[in-house]
Assembly symmetry: C2
Homo-oligomer: 324 residues x 2
């Protein structure tokens, strides 16, 4: 029993928004207007073998799918409420695998306060392929873009940088670290944690914001380009996890190792700019939210991103990478 | 040059909504609330080899992708305004193929008044896979569901039924008809025409409505189930195109042939119910819109769909089909 109608009725319908999802029986979702608010939409796709590994458990694939989209909304200061899902099931996705996938969705729906609104489910002879359109609200005209950074602003990043790249290496068995560090990295690769709870802080204080998906340096480069400013980054400030530090400790070329972390991507942290007079409030709100924030750069007149290590400029060949 | 960043910047950005799409540079789209209106969303995916053929020109694939989604909105009486697109490019999708795909999008954006709002573009080692989230508006609480049909209502369908199935057979070279009939059917398979201009009529007059994607009988069955009514269909009323009639003329078992047309799917016509007192106005509005409408059934108390041919009940094994 892996028909698409059964999948919708038995597995997806229980996840649906009770009103707006219309029982997943009407081909459409209906979202009433919310006067005074803007609707924020983002859409990310994951392909087996490209964005997740063929042996990743499907509940974690479902969670990663929601989380990479939730991360985009968090970076814009938006509060998520629902999503549409297109599932392209590969031949390996039998009923048990679909149940496992839906279990992951249900878990994250509870964690992040979102509900399924609709979508499509099809079989594909190729790799499993999923795409989500995630939706959220911001108060009118309050969305945080990439283009608001101004000379004098400080650059911050939440959490740790580099676990995305290290996590992929760990999941592929290409990393030599203690088992608990490897486990933590694999967990991060499979199930990154979006900074959704930090969205209100971003909305209040950030002048520009992105999530770190392409790589810290590349994503901060997006802010510099969109804002028409220059950003100087201090590589030695790159915040690392316990696992990241354990990996760094084994490197002989620390600068090269830090560059690998800062260009790795898939971190799903938030990189953002803040006016210096807002630094104290940012740090207070971050402490209340139990989110680590690290200052690692400055905005000035000019263009592009300059990376320094201990004050010395570093040449960056590839600021980030793309799955494409 | 087939990187995803270049694809976004060179090919997709010119299609973007000038404000709400944010130049496709911000990971999100921002749609202001429209007080007094509901947002209607639908999401359909197409997979190469499943929903379109590997040798279908990519401009027609792009148009089919938009049109199957536009058809869902038309059935709900919604006016489309924009869409998000996830493109999973297979290895055959080089730059020229992507340009061709985008040409198809541009053509239909002009025809149907929609603009690109955002999305994702990735490479896939498998078959090309696309999904669209299409958005439209209806005046508040005016969306037409599947569940409003009442005993006494008449059942109508727009246009012709069966060209979806015949078109697939023609595209696969499995049909023996005159060349111009084959061409028309292949064109319909590749590039169905959604009844978008009929959406205001649906909104004004239909008590329930679906688009014919699974098959006429199956889709009318969805209305019967959701509305808790019985629907009797008169198979001989099934409206057919010139090509459909040419095909029918060669069949010895006309009843079986009509059943094939009425269970074929992929027609993207609208099947809907109307109160008998609204029939005259429906026919007048349809004539003004140059849309053929055919009465082919009645709603009564009870449940399920009964198919009759020249007054005699017909047993239907499989009311529709699914791509799986």
């Amino acid at each position: 029993m892996t028909g698409e109608f059964e999948t919708i009725r038995e597995l997806f319908a229980p996840l649906a928004h009770p009103e707006w999802g219309r029982g997943l029986l009407d081909d459409v979702a209906v979202v009433p207007s919310r006067p005074g608010y803007d609707l924020i939409l983002t859409k990310d796709a994951l392909v087996e073998g490209v964005h997740f590994l063929p042996d990743d458990p499907l509940d974690t694939v479902a969670q990663k799918l929601l989380r990479v989209n939730l991360s985009d909304l968090a970076a814009k200061g938006a509060e998520p409420f629902g999503y549409l899902l297109a599932s392209g099931w590969s031949p390996r996705c039998g009923w048990a695998e679909r149940e496992e996938f839906v279990l992951g969705l249900a878990r994250d729906q509870a964690t992040y306060g979102v509900m399924l609104l609709g979508g499509d489910t099809v079989a594909t002879p190729g790799p499993a392929t999923f795409s989500v359109t995630m939706m959220g609200w911001t108060p009118r005209d309050a969305v945080v873009g990439r283009n608001g950074a101004r000379a004098g602003d400080m650059v911050f990043v939440t959490g740790h940088v580099g676990d995305g790249r290290l996590g992929l290496m760990a999941a592929q068995g290409r990393l030599n670290l203690e088992p608990e560090r490897l486990d933590a990295l694999i967990e991060h690769y499979r199930r990154p944690t979006p900074q959704s709870a930090f969205a209100p802080v971003i909305r209040e204080l950030a002048t520009a914001s992105v999530d770190v998906s392409d790589g810290l340096i590349a994503d901060i480069g997006h802010i510099a380009t969109a804002s028409g400013v220059r950003i100087d980054l201090d590589l030695e400030q790159t915040p690392t996890s316990l696992a990241g530090r354990a990996w760094l400790d084994k490197r002989t070329d620390v600068q090269d190792a830090l560059l690998q972390l800062a260009t790795g991507g898939d971190d799903y942290e938030l990189a953002f700019t803040v006016r210096p007079e807002d630094e104290a409030r940012l740090r207070r709100l971050a402490e209340q939210a139990l989110v680590r924030v690290t200052a690692l750069g400055q905005v000035s007149e000019g263009s592009g991103v300059t990376v320094r290590h201990l004050g010395v400029p570093v040449s960056v060949q590839t600021p980030g990478w793309t799955h494409g």
